[in-house]
């Protein structure tokens, strides 16, 4: 190790007050950046995890049936699609869902609610997302018109276990239909995508919507892992096209969200000769792309804040170094007189700052990790509304990755090196005789 490196390290502690003042800035920036990046990674993971366990698959299929130019939303002949997918990917799990919005009438109160019909024999992952206040999953499974409702909905409509409720919906064809549901479970869930949903039986909702037994609202496809989703989607688009479907990919992130929501597309007049079964396949990455954009914006705002702090640090480095060089002119002169080269003087001055920054950045990162550990494990928040997007079991999800830690250290290293270089070069260029003759 060159001698000037150890000298540079020792020099950090010569001007303790000055070093501390500069170091605090690094410390704060490190905490801020790690919390921000951990939050961003945590939300992404939590969001996609919750989404996949409740409201979307690794691939999600939605569709439309066009008959003589008239479009009805829904996936037609879904058992055929399931067969095609299972033939192409035997390890894949395909789940069919039926969704509709219906108004519930009870004791003079009415409320429009989102209903989701599931195949209770296959679609059991949702069970783990629910914590039952009353009733049970098994009671719900046992009764065809049995439903699970959220505690908030039950409180709003003053519903109790085993209450029978009339629901009215405008079916996909336009006609109103009514049915009677029986409350077989009241739940709470920390998963944002489950909250407020009324869980029904697939067949019950299909019949309520006056639809045929081969129709579904959407299909969720799950693979062993999320590797190569894009390629798998491309392959399935081809296989389903061969099976007679008009297949497509969502054109944008909002289209991808429409696929997951199985939402009605905008009004569009088709020619009377158009008769098609249409399918759109979205990957989970496309669905969360909008979230990623929002998080990128949040990160950019945080980065901007950190940038301002770094700019202040840059000015501090510059002033500090000029003062340090002036204070230590005799020392620099002596080093030059005993044969130390310009580049070694420059490197010594640069490394003084780099070591200082790394020291305080490491301290900042350690503190940030402690804060993250506290927030993730001890601090508990109520999982209500939009806040639950960020929570896992009531705790804020913050994921500090090795990448985030390395990034912050690298930024501190490069930034400090860069902004120390110019004043250091000025110090390094001073000739020995000039430096030794400087008196104050």
């Amino acid at each position: 190790m060159p001698y000037y490196l150890s000298l540079a390290f020792k020099n950090i502690f010569r001007q303790k007050k000055r070093s501390f003042t500069l170091g605090v800035n690094y410390f704060v920036v490190a905490i801020l950046m790690l919390l921000l990046l951990s939050f961003s990674d945590g939300v992404k993971k939590n969001f996609s995890g919750n989404l996949i366990s409740a409201a979307a698959g690794h691939l999600t299929l939605s569709g439309a049936v066009v008959t003589k130019g008239k479009t009805l939303i829904g996936v037609a002949d879904y058992p055929t699609i399931v067969k095609v997918i299972e033939a192409e990917y035997p390890d894949a799990t395909v789940l069919a869902r039926y969704k509709l919005t219906s108004t519930v009438y009870y004791l003079g109160q009415s409320k429009s609610l989102s209903f989701q019909g599931i195949d209770t024999a296959k679609d059991t992952a949702l069970k783990d997302q629910l914590s039952f206040v009353a009733g049970s999953w098994d009671d719900y499974v046992a009764q065809n018109n049995g439903v699970l409702i959220s505690k908030d909905t039950a409180d709003y409509l003053k519903l109790k276990l085993d209450d029978e409720v009339v629901i009215s919906t405008r079916t996909r064809f336009g006609a109103f239909n009514t049915g009677t549901i029986r409350v077989k479970g009241i739940y709470e869930s920390a998963n944002y995508f489950v909250q407020g949903i009324v869980l029904c039986h697939f067949g019950f909702l299909q019949a309520l919507d006056l639809n045929d037994k081969l129709s579904a609202s959407s299909l969720f496809v799950y693979f062993k892992n999320t590797d190569g989703l894009e390629a798998k989607r491309e392959h399935l688009l081809g296989a389903l096209a061969d099976a007679g479907y008009v297949t497509s990919k969502p054109a944008s992130s909002s289209d991808a969200i429409s696929v997951v929501a199985a939402a009605t597309p905008q009004y569009k007049v088709e020619g009377a000769d158009v008769n098609e079964y249409r399918l759109t396949i979205a990957t989970v990455n496309e669905v969360i792309a909008i979230l990623a954009q929002v998080l990128d914006a949040v990160n950019a705002a945080g980065g901007f804040l950190a940038g301002i702090m770094l700019f202040i640090i840059a000015i501090s480095i510059f002033i500090n170094m000029r003062m340090t060089i002036n204070d230590r002119m005799q020392e620099i002169g002596t080093l030059r007189a005993i044969g130390t080269e310009t580049k070694d003087i420059v490197l010594m001055l640069i490394f003084e700052n780099v070591f200082l920054s790394l020291l305080f950045v490491l301290a900042g990162l350690a503190t940030a990790l402690l804060i993250i550990a506290f927030v993730s494990n001890v601090l508990s928040l109520p999982p209500a509304g939009i806040l639950s997007l960020f929570l896992d079991q009531g705790h804020l999800v913050l994921i500090p990755t090795l990448g985030s830690l390395s990034l912050i250290l690298a930024v501190a290293f490069v930034f400090t090196g860069l902004f120390s270089f110019f004043p250091a070069r000025h110090g390094g260029k001073v000739r020995a005789a000039v430096a030794l003759s400087k008196t104050y």
Binding site: T103, G108, S168, T171, F173, A175, F176, N177, T178, L210
Partner: protein, 254 residues
């Protein structure tokens, strides 16, 4: 021999009797509905009137809406302008055949709506304002007689030909004295009564042409929720063609 003839006749009656009766009920129902439509559809007339809707909901203050209606049944068109309250002023509907548009002055846009839209979230539907063409969507049959208040009525059941209608089943209670509706019940596909409309009063606006002047629409699923509608200031003079256009709605909202 007599026994065989009697048994044969009885068998014939049992086999074809119900079908023949059903055919009769269907023919009679169709005739009655055609007659009602002839009376309440006002082809050859332009109609202008003011509707006042009072929506009553349990536990809430009455909500009042006033609308100006321009109607031309010959062309299957109508224009509705919201006049009261101020929060709704400038809104309007324009119907041209099967196309119904809602104009929103706040965004200055026309929104394509289902022709069965509820007017201003009340229990009154837009299809009530225009020409009725029930037999293109329903098959009719007489299902009995009933007394509604002081009126003797014939009950005609309408069953939807396709599910592209709001109410797959309707029952029209027609006054035996003048064949005008006294009550209309709307049912869901699973035969739950959803809505009841009581036609309280009619006005003869031309010879053999009638327009309701008072109507009560009751929501049978929402407890104690109903909308009372009064139809006043009825004028039958010619309406300028421009009134039946989107541009007219935009102009009136300014």
């Amino acid at each position: 021999m007599k026994f065989i003839l009697t048994a044969g006749f009885g068998l014939l009656l049992l086999t074809f009797g119900p079908a023949a009766m059903a055919q009769d009920a269907g023919a009679e129902g169709t005739k009655l509905i055609l007659d009602v439509q002839d009376k309440i559809n006002t082809e050859a007339l332009d109609l202008t009137s003011t509707f006042t809707l009072v929506q009553k909901k349990e536990g809430e203050a009455d909500r009042v809406l006033r609308l100006k209606i321009f109607r031309r049944d010959t062309a299957s068109k109508f224009t509705i302008l919201f006049q009261y309250p101020d929060s709704e002023k400038g809104k309007g509907y324009y119907r041209d055949g099967d196309n119904l548009y809602l104009y929103l002055p706040s965004t200055r846009e026309f929104v394509f709506r289902n022709r069965k839209d509820d007017v201003g979230s009340t229990d009154v539907r837009t299809d009530l304002f225009g020409k009725q063409d029930l037999l293109s969507q329903y098959t009719a049959k007489v299902v009995g007689s009933e007394k509604i208040a002081k009126f003797d009525t014939t009950v005609v059941q309408l069953d939807a030909k396709t599910l592209d209608v709001s109410f797959p089943i309707q029952k029209w209670y027609l006054n035996k004295a003048n064949n005008l509706p006294v009550k209309v019940e709307n049912y869901s596909a699973s035969k739950t009564l959803l809505r009841t409309t009581y036609y309280v009063d009619f006005k003869e606006v031309a010879k053999g042409k009638f327009l309701f002047t008072k109507l009560l629409a009751k929501n049978n699923l929402e407890k104690n929720q109903s909308t009372l509608l009064s139809n006043d200031d009825i004028v039958v003079s010619k309406i300028p063609d421009y009134t039946f256009s989107q541009a007219f709605l935009e102009e009136q909202s300014r």
